[in-house]
């Protein structure tokens, strides 16, 4: 096993995300980075994970063309269950089966709330984004939500303009008070700079891990508030050469995610 010395921050993010997954887990997976991350995990250390998508898809194998989003035609002929949203968002997610929900996000705030609706005022936004899709359901219902996005400072406001997907709302027990189930909520935010988790008491995001190329200072600059750093903050292992080879050659041979950037998420104006 040799560590790679030639990898991008996006590749590091994907591999860090995949490391959160244990073999055999049930995942409900959103569009963009979560797709390639979970397929990479399935291809490597977690072949027996089950991947569920919001439109009614349960995948146990890797499609021969990588899906660009969770409604991509290529998933139809590779799934073991293919029906409607009540099959996955209902009888799997609302029923509490997923170990992890993977989401992309435009903005994430101090308490893990996600905004994919708009920047500025909701009734007359400065920039209108797509909206929730199933994201609000993932965030409302899943035991452990992992959000993946490119780390740019403007993506990490202290408070998002619009809570599309509830995280811990105002921290502490405000999530449970709003009616969401105990034992659900954000587990980690994984970016191109590091891995961020949430304190059990205040439910505030903190720096858990940063990547070998980076530094705590650089990471802290990536947030619009003064993010706390774990006392035993960790440095992630870099990807191995084999991991990078599999990711590039086997998972994304057309370069849809890694080269052509078809999956880049909107950040701000």
């Amino acid at each position: 096993m040799k560590y790679s010395t030639d990898y991008s921050p996006i590749e590091m993010m994907i591999i860090a995300g995949a490391r959160e997954i244990e073999n055999g887990q049930i995942l409900i997976v959103g569009t963009q980075w979560p797709i390639i991350t979970t397929l990479f995990a399935k291809k490597t250390h977690a072949p027996d994970i089950t991947i569920c998508y919001e439109g009614g898809v349960v995948l146990e194998s890797i499609p021969d063309r990588i899906p660009l989003f969770t409604g991509d035609p290529c998933i139809a002929s590779n799934s073991v269950l293919l029906n409607d949203s009540l099959d996955t968002l209902g009888m799997i997610l609302h029923a509490g089966y997923p170990d992890i929900a993977f989401l992309p996000g435009a903005n994430v705030d101090r308490y893990g709330n996600i905004n994919t609706t708009c920047f500025g005022d909701y009734s007359r936004p400065k920039f209108r984004l797509g909206g929730s899709g199933g994201a609000c359901d993932f965030g409302s219902l899943a035991k452990r939500v992992i959000t993946m996005l490119e780390h740019e400072r403007q993506r990490f406001p202290e408070r998002v303009d619009f809570i599309t997907t509830p995280g811990y709302l105002d921290g502490s027990d405000s999530r449970e008070k709003a009616g969401l189930r105990p034992g659900t909520g954000p587990g980690a935010v994984i970016t191109t700079l590091g891995i961020f988790r949430f304190r059990k008491d205040t439910r505030e995001m903190y720096v858990d891990t940063y990547y070998p190329e980076g530094s705590i200072e650089e990471v802290k600059k990536g947030f619009q508030w003064d993010i706390k750093v774990s006392e035993d903050v960790k440095v992630a292992d870099p990807p191995t050469e084999e991991e990078i080879r599999i990711l590039r050659d086997e998972i994304d041979p057309f370069g849809m995610y890694l080269k052509n950037n078809k999956a880049k998420t909107i950040s701000t104006l």
Binding site: E60, L81, N83, H94
Partner: protein, 318 residues
């Protein structure tokens, strides 16, 4: 992934526990008679059995003394004749008193639906005014609630999510991992079987996962929810499985006459349940000629296509 294939004997031993809340799948067809007979043979006790619309499954389990509580909408010998063991139990407490919680098919299916999704409840306009609504049994206050709708003030009936410790159902085909496909009259089965913590799938045929993947729209429950898969052809006899075998009317007629008295019922169990080791012995006892008479004339359609392009269009990639 590890195969979940096992014998019926082992599946029932391992996954059905005394006192469990058991869902029996199948809406007339797909009823798991092979599993039910094994439950009786293993003398399971104190079960609560939930079954929306079956034939003589509940009658046999009640008569054999496996049950303490039932959730259902009806129990009937399909001729239609009353189910004798049910009658003896409800009218005379034989072999022991049981409690029966009764709904209508729609309200119970909605309760299974709420259970499968773990919804807090579902509101409906059925059931109100009936004595079913006014006579809760062991579910008591939680059988249903009649409230005024917060939207428009009209009276509505709320049914709770019904969930089960273990669900058992016969299907047309499944793979080793429990991805199960079924078709025909489905009734409540998809919602019921998805409302269970543990699931035993009894399949007419075990197929390769590739067969499942060639028509994933048929799958009613994903394998990851399934604990055990039992290959059990003819597992729903004397009821039917669409495309596999027709209903054995003569057997129901025989059962009706055979179980009219308590002695007759005991003798039926001795001969057809305790007296056979497993389903294959039961089937041998039915006999090839009788089985052949139940084989359906084929009725199948065009397969549907799930294809897509294997590559992206070139100038989108570049």
């Amino acid at each position: 992934m590890k195969s979940k294939i096992m014998t019926m004997d082992k599946a029932i031993k391992e996954f059905v526990r005394d006192g469990d809340v058991v869902y029996l799948g199948g809406f007339i067809q797909h009823e798991p008679y092979a599993a039910i007979h094994e439950i009786i043979r293993q003398r399971k006790k104190g079960l609560t059995v939930s079954s929306c619309a079956g034939m003589i499954a509940l009658d046999q389990l009640i008569g054999a003394g496996c049950l303490d509580r039932v959730i259902t909408t009806y129990t009937w010998n399909p001729l239609p004749k009353p189910a004798h063991a049910l009658r003896r139990c409800m009218e005379k407490g034989i072999p022991h008193e049981i409690q029966m919680e009764e709904y209508s098919i729609l309200s119970l299916t909605l309760s299974y639906f709420a259970g499968a999704l773990d919804l807090p409840f579902v509101a409906t306009k059925t059931l109100m005014g009936s004595d079913l609504a006014k006579n809760p049994s062991f579910l008591g206050e939680n059988k249903l609630k009649i409230i005024e709708s917060p939207f428009n003030g009209e009276k509505v009936c709320l049914v709770p999510p019904l969930k089960h410790d273990i669900g058992i159902m016969q299907v047309q085909r499944a793979d080793n991992f429990g991805n199960a496909q079924a078709w025909g009259v489905m009734g409540d089965s998809k919602y019921g079987i998805n409302s269970c913590s543990r699931v035993i799938i009894c399949a007419e045929e075990i197929v390769d996962t590739e067969v499942i993947k060639r028509d994933p729209g048929r799958t009613i429950i994903p394998g990851f929810k399934v604990s055990a898969v039992v290959e059990e052809p003819w597992g729903s006899h004397p009821s039917y499985v669409t495309g596999c075998y027709d209903m054995d009317w003569r057997y129901f007629s025989f059962y009706d006459k055979a179980t009219e008295t308590l002695d007759g019922f005991e003798n039926y169990l001795k001969e057809w349940v305790y007296g056979v080791k497993d389903r294959s012995e039961y089937i041998k006892k039915i006999g090839k000629k009788n089985l052949d008479a139940l084989k359906p004339k084929p009725w199948s359609g065009n397969p549907v296509d799930y294809g897509y392009c294997a590559q992206y269009q070139e100038d989108y990639v570049s």
